[in-house]
């Protein structure tokens, strides 16, 4: 064991420079004006450094092509809604970066938060702005039963599946239960009538219907997992400087490089917007104004109880995982007061293509967003982690210009071309 080793730190401290040099991936120094220390940070942002999304053991169907195909069809099918006019793609529009460009999502009603882009979601341990779901399949189920989104109920969805996708469903998940004797509409989250009808059903029937519903989510998640970001100009530039390919040094303009310097330096953006997806996947209170101060949104704080009690979580009866596979839930942070009014750090990939910004579309432009971080206003609920950042007007403009270099294609695994 290593416990017997002493004084190594003291020795190492004395030799900081030489050790740092020896351990650096860039011992020969930086490129294109970047120091080798900056190169370490820059290198970590490259898309080529993104590890494959982890396997979701709670969804054993996610790798099946037939599940992907079924999930894709469901994703675009408006029959899975109370009014027949809303599909997943209504808000997660492939032509708009799998989001809708609105401040608040709009399905059969108007939601309370901004639609999130689904691309790359399998890299997040918790989904939604507040992380109230712990898998992509469980996330997909939320909007389906939300009265403001798809507005439907699980018995109705099982019927639509049976009527239109029975063969495809059974090829992946096995036989569907009989639904003929069930009421037309019933579900635990519906209106009074639907909830009453759900209560009337016996427990095995409720379980069988809920399993069909869960499987629907698993198919949608299988499709969503195929969506990923392609390389942006930033990636081409960073790959260029890492490989010392001088022909790539002009992929970014001087202004964009200045903005990148702010991003990893005095702007401190990279502290949370880290790694190849430019997100730490965690939740932070950054003092974004409440959309409705009379009814404050407490974000992550309120979501912890929801995800730990969710029947569709990793440890629930519809999960394919063993409890030992559910470490995110086993070790979920509960007591941290910094989670009050904390919201997820979004990926910044393709960010310039999807205004407005923040969890309820509070900021219209990237310039507004940068301005918020410069001013760092106090939070009305909880405490903002931000401290004022002194940026000149020019630096703020450079930073916005840099954010425009993060745009790239969205690709579907298994397809040659992005859309």
């Amino acid at each position: 064991m290593h416990f017997g080793i002493r004084h190594i730190l003291t020795m190492a401290m004395a030799a900081t420079v030489s050790i740092a040099g020896a351990a650096s991936a860039f011992p020969w120094g930086g490129a294109d004006g970047w120091s080798k220390q900056e190169m370490e940070v820059l290198s970590s942002l490259r898309l080529s450094q993104l590890a494959p999304a982890p396997e979701d053991r709670s969804n054993r169907y996610e790798g099946l092509p037939a599940a992907v195909e079924l999930g894709k069809r469901i994703f675009f099918d408006k029959r899975f809604s109370s009014n027949g006019e809303v599909s997943c793609a209504s808000c997660h529009d492939p032509k708009q970066q799998f989001q809708d460009g609105r401040e608040l999502g709009r399905g059969v009603g108007t939601g309370a938060r901004r639609t999130m882009p689904v691309v790359g979601l399998a890299h997040s341990p918790f989904l939604f702005w507040d992380g109230r779901k712990d898998s992509a399949w469980s996330q997909a189920l939320g909007p389906l039963e939300d009265p403001a989104e798809h507005g439907g109920n699980r018995v109705a969805y099982a019927r639509v599946l049976q009527a239109n996708y029975q063969k495809e469903y059974e090829a992946v998940f096995g036989p569907m239960p009989g639904l003929a004797r069930l009421p037309r509409d019933a579900g635990p989250l519906g209106d009074d009538r639907q909830r009453a009808a759900w209560k009337e059903l016996d427990e095995p029937t409720r379980q069988a219907v809920s399993r069909v519903f869960a499987n629907m989510g698993k198919a949608i998640a299988a499709y969503e997992k195929t969506l990923h970001y392609g390389a942006s100009r930033m990636d081409r530039y960073l790959d260029g400087i890492v490989s010392r390919d001088a022909s790539a040094y002009n992929v970014l303009s001087q202004q964009e490089k200045n903005g990148l310097r702010v991003f990893i330096g005095k702007g401190q953006c990279v502290t949370c917007h880290s790694g190849p997806l430019l997100s730490d996947q965690h939740f932070h209170n950054t003092g974004i104004p409440q959309r409705n101060p009379a009814k404050p949104d407490t974000g992550r704080r309120a979501a912890i109880a929801k995800v730990t009690r969710d029947e569709f979580n990793c440890m629930g009866p519809f999960s394919d995982a063993g409890k030992e596979d559910c470490d995110e839930l086993r070790f979920i942070a509960q007591e941290d007061h910094s989670l009050d009014a904390a919201f997820k750090t979004p990926s910044l990939r393709n960010v310039a293509l999807r205004a407005p910004y923040m969890h309820a579309g509070q900021k219209q432009t990237l310039a507004d967003v940068v301005d918020h971080y410069r001013k760092a206003p106090a939070s009305r609920v909880g405490h903002s982690e931000l401290k004022r950042i002194e940026l000149s007007e020019q630096e703020a403009r450079d930073l916005v210009a840099f954010l425009g270099t993060l745009s790239g294609p969205i690709l579907e695994r298994g397809q040659a071309n992005g859309q």
Binding site: I8, S24, E40, V41, A51, G265, H282, D336
Partner: protein
């Protein structure tokens, strides 16, 4: 030894180049073997991961001895900490899940969500009394 040297070098490296982001205080004591505040215990911690990767959950081990060198068995250990410069805790709630014998305890659920200065705080409660200790770790940027 190599692993520890690597980790130490990584931590120092981080200290150097994080100057570009939010710098940890200079002179931060990164030793992984410390006495508790009231000198009741001598505690040594180490990551059990070959390399600490940002956002990857992993386990640590804490070895607890009395000042006399006798291993402390059957202690109740509370795990806390976070990022003092950001005012938030760990993205997870790490905790001791197993006593490994000889005063060694397994801490599971450790995860660092960002680079920078992190504190790991242990509150140790045994028949010898209650005492606490804080370790500093500096996490380097990475994918």
């Amino acid at each position: 030894m190599i692993r520890r040297q690597f980790f130490t070098a990584l931590a120092l490296l981080a200290t150097v180049f994080l100057a570009a982001c939010m710098s940890p205080p200079t002179g931060l004591d990164l030793s992984q073997k410390r006495s508790t505040a009231r000198n009741l215990y001598l505690v040594e911690v180490q990551s059990l991961a070959d390399q600490i990767a940002i956002n990857k959950m992993h386990a640590w081990e804490a070895k607890v001895k009395l000042a006399t060198g006798e291993p402390v068995r059957g202690a109740s250990i509370t795990v806390g900490g976070g990022m003092p410069q950001h005012g938030h805790g760990y993205p997870t709630q790490p905790r001791v899940t197993k006593e490994l014998g000889d005063g060694r305890y397994l801490i599971e659920g450790m995860k660092f969500s960002m680079s920078g200065w992190w504190e790991l705080k242990l509150k140790i409660d045994s028949s010898a009394g209650v005492d606490d200790v804080t370790f500093n770790t500096v996490i380097a940027p990475g994918p």
